[in-house]
């Protein structure tokens, strides 16, 4: 077996040095009734054969190179600069672990420090952690932070927050007697502010919303932060980090916590994971933030360096008194996001964000003109929007498109039953004008 360096001679010599006859002597402590004879698994496969088999399995899937996809809804097909793949393939990064030994981990530590700096800049917050698992679990941890910080029992959650994030929040909150109250959307597809105001009370720990929301709309949160602050509640925003190239940041909206899914920042879609949960807070919440934090300090010779810090918040020290149980996080994807943001810089990020808006608006305005389709919600969008098919069922529309090798979007009824025959359509910078026109033509001929 090419992954195992010991030779049979080595094994014998080592057993002999240990002072036993055979390997079995080392494991006699396991009661014989608990020993397994032989696992019912196939034998090993050679590298050549397995590579061929994996390529065959992979070929049974349709990546964007083999079909034109307008799917969004929390994960997006974006341009990934080549540099990212090459840096992530440095095995000094990907085969290391959590930088407990600072002297042997300055590379990872400095990249995490830079990542924290970039996320804080992007979100307009003071401090970012080293990463959470994904957007949904980051949102859930933000909610738990608010509940713990305020000692209250109620969380308000916009119904337009990603449905899978809402489900995750519900699951995380189900252990204790926490109440999650959903705030509906209004006729424009945005937050029903009157309902929000009515629900804020002295037991409200916080309010969480997403922007752009699940319908693709950039929300206007004017006045919300102040309302929540006066009630002693925290304001949590879940944002698409790429949209922050042009759209107002959580910091500018007055949020206390900013979370989100970092996948748009140079991370391949990989069927939904691993992505990147980012988590940033205002300064007064530093000691409540979940997960790893890297700080700059000096070594004993006064040299600038980096180390894990404020570890007294964490599970390996605090055990059951820790604020979070997170240990392994998504460091390598945080590195991907850092490299992406270094490559893009402020200008590249802005241009990419603008490209998304322009593509999506172009597509929306052309679909608007097709008989049999209507645009469900107006307003400012980032890279996706909702259309309704008024003549055929959305399932039929999508099936017909798929026959033309186009994945037309996501049916919303699976999450919002009231939005029957509605489709969430996404266009990013990866789509050419010709591809957008191809969808428009396909929809037109569908009717």
């Amino acid at each position: 077996m090419n992954y195992l360096p010991l030779t049979e001679t080595d094994r014998q010599a080592m057993l002999c040095d240990i002072g036993v006859q055979c390997f079995e002597d080392l494991v006699r402590v396991i009661p014989s009734a608990l020993r397994v004879k032989d696992l019912n698994l196939p034998g090993g496969t050679s590298e050549l054969e397995l590579a061929r088999e994996l390529a065959e399995l992979s070929a049974q899937n349709q990546p964007p190179s083999r079909c034109l996809s307008f799917l969004g809804g929390g994960y997006y097909d974006h341009f990934i600069p080549s540099v990212i793949h090459h840096i992530l393939s440095r095995s000094e990064f990907y085969t290391a672990y959590t930088p407990y030994q600072a002297e042997a981990s300055q590379g990872t530590l400095q990249t995490v420090f830079e990542y924290q700096s970039m996320i804080a800049e992007l979100t307009g917050m003071d401090v970012s952690n080293a990463s959470n698992y994904d957007g949904a679990s980051a949102a859930a941890e933000a909610v738990l932070l608010a509940l713990r910080h305020t000692g209250r029992k109620k969380i308000l959650c916009a119904q337009t927050l990603h449905p899978e994030y809402r489900q995750t929040i519900q699951t995380y909150c189900s252990g204790s007697h926490f109440k999650v109250v959903e705030i509906p959307y209004d006729s424009r597809g945005g937050l029903d502010k009157a309902r929000l105001s009515a629900e804020i009370d002295s037991d409200t720990a916080g309010f969480i919303a997403g922007t752009p929301n699940f319908f693709g709309l950039a929300e206007d949160f004017s006045g919300i932060a102040q309302q929540l602050r006066e009630a002693g509640a925290l304001f949590i925003l879940s944002v698409n980090p790429l949209s922050l190239g042009i759209l107002k940041s959580p910091g500018e909206w007055g949020a206390d916590i900013a979370v989100g899914e970092g996948q748009p920042l140079g991370i391949p879609m990989s069927y939904g994971g691993p992505g990147l949960g980012f988590f940033a807070v205002k300064r007064d919440l530093i000691r409540k933030i979940p997960g790893r934090l890297v700080g700059m300090t000096q070594d004993r010779n006064g040299k600038r360096c980096f180390a894990l810090t404020l570890q007294a918040r964490e599970q390996h020290i605090r055990r059951e008194k820790a604020g979070s149980n997170i240990c392994t996080n998504h460091a390598l994807l945080a590195l991907a996001a850092s490299v992406y943001l270094s490559v893009m810089g402020r200008e590249g990020l802005k241009k990419t964000a603008e490209y998304n808006v322009k593509s999506a608006v172009y597509l929306r305005e052309h679909i608007r003109q097709i008989p049999g389709f209507e645009i469900v919600f107006g307003g400012t969008i980032f890279n996706e929007f909702v259309i309704r098919s008024t003549q055929k069922s959305s399932a039929e529309i999508l099936k017909n498109l798929q026959n033309k090798n186009i994945l037309g979007g996501l049916e919303l009824a699976r999450f919002y039953p009231e939005l029957a025959n509605c489709i969430l359509v996404c266009a990013t910078e990866t789509k050419t004008k010709a591809e957008l026109d191809r969808l428009v033509e396909a929809l037109r001929s569908n009717q």
Binding site: L4, L6, R11, M14, L26, I30, G44, L50, A51, S58, N61, Q62, P64, S65, C67, S91, T95, A96, Y97, T98, E103, S105, Q106, Q110, F113, E114, E121, Y133, T171, G175, S176, A218, D220, L247, K248, E261, M269, Y271, G273, P274, L293, T297, R300, N301, R304, L310, R318, A322, N325, T328, N329, A331, L332, L341, S342, G345, R346, K358, L410, E429
Partner: protein
């Protein structure tokens, strides 16, 4: 005398922000087809960003050199022996990486119609079958993103199971005092009260203490087997009986599963819920701190509560099943860290039945070999054969004023990553050593020589240990100052006068 190695670790690297200069760019984007459209006509003025993010402006070659240079400042499995106990830092096969990057796996969207992702679902389905067989469990969810996330999932399942039987009084979770910190943290996070059961003189769960704690309020016992001393809990059947008779469930923390492949199965030991760390036992890389993956397996009685969706198959067609009426719900978005699942699947298929068993056997042999060869110089709290890891103690050295941390730092000078130190918390001056199956006898012998040399240095030249590491770029960061005045971003740094004594290498600060 062993010579110190020289490393490419002798100078500090400026921050990417300090390399920034107006006019430089790292990006290349296509000409916008819509450049005639003014963005202000598409986005309401009130929604536009006014305070712009201060991101660096750096060219591509500079970006590459920055990150590649930083990578060289890490110890990693591919460059160094990394015997970090309980973390299973084994070799991460390159075929795994190739597999995960195949376009048909890496580039597919989670909401694609199922008929366009059959190969992906097939792989996930087969991975689940293998994990069931390896652990002796009846069903798995692949969703949890890491071990601790799996533990949280487990706690949710425990609660759902008891609630489902109308048994609402079970509010307590028992953990051994040697358990991983995530165990009590996960239980507490989900609202359970945590009780700690002591270890006995043999380093196992104290059965008589456990019997006192177990009762009508017991929701579950979380146990690692082998435990964090590297010892097999040989009274597992009595433990199982005690917890089950009290009406509780038994949870298996799979962090140490690398000891048991093809040797014994948690399912056969009576565990009801199991999490596995694919980034430990199943060779997916640790990524400098993730991503990992923490699939959770259960016995039949807990299947109805598994998170949605489950991957299933009918007549050769694979699909996602959301119809799980009693499900605990969702733990995250989508289906799990699929990129890690592809790697773990590749590893299992590559090794197969015999390869997996041999991997665990070699892991156990390697650990016992090191233990035997250093136990003259270092105290070991439990002088019996260990499984895949063991705990040594720097207690002899303590009398000389040398601590576990000094030994750990001195190991870095010789090019070895340190063991896990000061864990388990209940062992003074603990050094937890886990070599894994990936190391050659030659590497183990060198490591042993160095450990024993360090023990002699502790006697004759204790200052060498106190001053270590002496060969790396930095030595002993001031953790106290770091926590007292946290500098967590570049912006913090610009305002932190106490850190400006040293001038970074030339570069222009970000002008934005």
């Amino acid at each position: 005398m062993i010579e110190r190695r020289e490393f490419l670790m002798t100078h500090t690297v400026s921050l990417i922000f300090e390399k920034s200069k107006e006019g430089k760019q790292g990006w290349s984007l296509p000409c916008n087809h819509f450049s005639d459209v003014e963005i202000h006509s598409l986005v309401e003025a009130n929604l536009l960003r006014r305070v712009h993010p201060q991101l660096p402006s750096v060219s591509e070659p500079e970006i590459v050199r920055h990150y590649v240079t930083l990578s060289q400042k890490n110890f990693s499995v591919d460059t160094h022996f990394y015997p970090l106990g309980s973390c299973t830092m084994k070799y991460n096969p390159k075929l795994n990486e190739d597999a995960a990057r195949l376009e048909g796996f890496a580039k597919i969207h989670p909401y694609q119609p199922e008929d366009t992702v059959q190969g992906m679902l097939h792989l996930l389905y087969d991975l689940e079958q293998s994990l069931r067989e390896i652990t002796g469990m009846d069903r798995f969810t692949l969703q949890p993103a890491a071990g601790a996330h799996g533990e949280l999932c487990g706690m949710m399942l425990v609660k759902a199971y008891h609630d489902g039987r109308g048994d609402k009084a079970r509010t307590e979770v028992i953990v051994p005092d040697s358990s991983h910190g995530t165990n009590p943290a996960s239980a507490a996070l989900f609202g359970f009260t945590v009780l700690t059961v002591k270890s006995d003189a043999r380093g196992r769960v104290d059965l008589s203490e456990l019997k006192k704690l177990a009762g009508p309020k017991t929701a579950c016992l979380m146990l690692t087997n082998p435990n964090t001393f590297g010892l097999f809990e040989d009274e597992i059947r009595e433990i199982q009986k005690c917890i089950h008779e009290a009406g509780g469930l038994l949870y298996y923390d799979g962090a140490n599963m690398n000891a048991l492949l093809g040797l014994a199965r948690p399912g056969d030991m009576g565990f009801d819920i199991v999490h596995l760390n694919l980034h430990k036992t199943f060779s997916t890389p640790h990524g400098g701190g993730g991503p990992g993956a923490g699939p959770v397996g259960v016995k039949k009685k807990l299947i109805p509560y598994l998170p949605i969706p489950l991957v299933e198959q009918k007549n050769g067609t694979y699909f996602l099943n959301y119809d799980v009426p009693e499900t605990i719900g969702r733990l995250r978005s989508f289906y799990g860290n699929v990129g890690m699942h592809v790697r773990a699947y590749t590893f299992i298929r590559r090794l197969g039945r015999e390869g997996l068993a041999q991997a665990s056997r070699d892991a156990i042999l390697n650990a016992n070999y090191i233990k035997k060869k250093i136990e003259k110089e270092f105290a070991v709290p439990h002088p019996e054969f260990c499984m895949h890891e063991f705990v040594a103690q720097a207690v002899h050295q303590n009398n000389l004023g040398v601590h576990a941390t000094d030994i750990a730092k001195r190991l870095l000078d010789f090019g070895y990553h340190a063991p896990t130190i000061y864990f388990p918390l209940i062992v003074p001056e603990a050094m937890m050593i886990e070599p894994t199956e990936s190391e050659s006898k030659e590497t183990l012998d060198s490591f042993i020589d160095v450990m024993n040399q360090i023990a002699r240095e502790a006697v004759h030249f204790p200052d060498r240990l106190k001053q270590a590491p002496a060969t790396l770029e930095i030595s002993r960061p001031d953790d106290v100052a770091a926590a007292r005045k946290p500098v967590l971003t570049y912006k913090d740094y610009l305002g932190a006068a106490h850190l400006h004594s040293e001038k970074p290498e030339p570069g222009t600060p970000c002008p934005c």
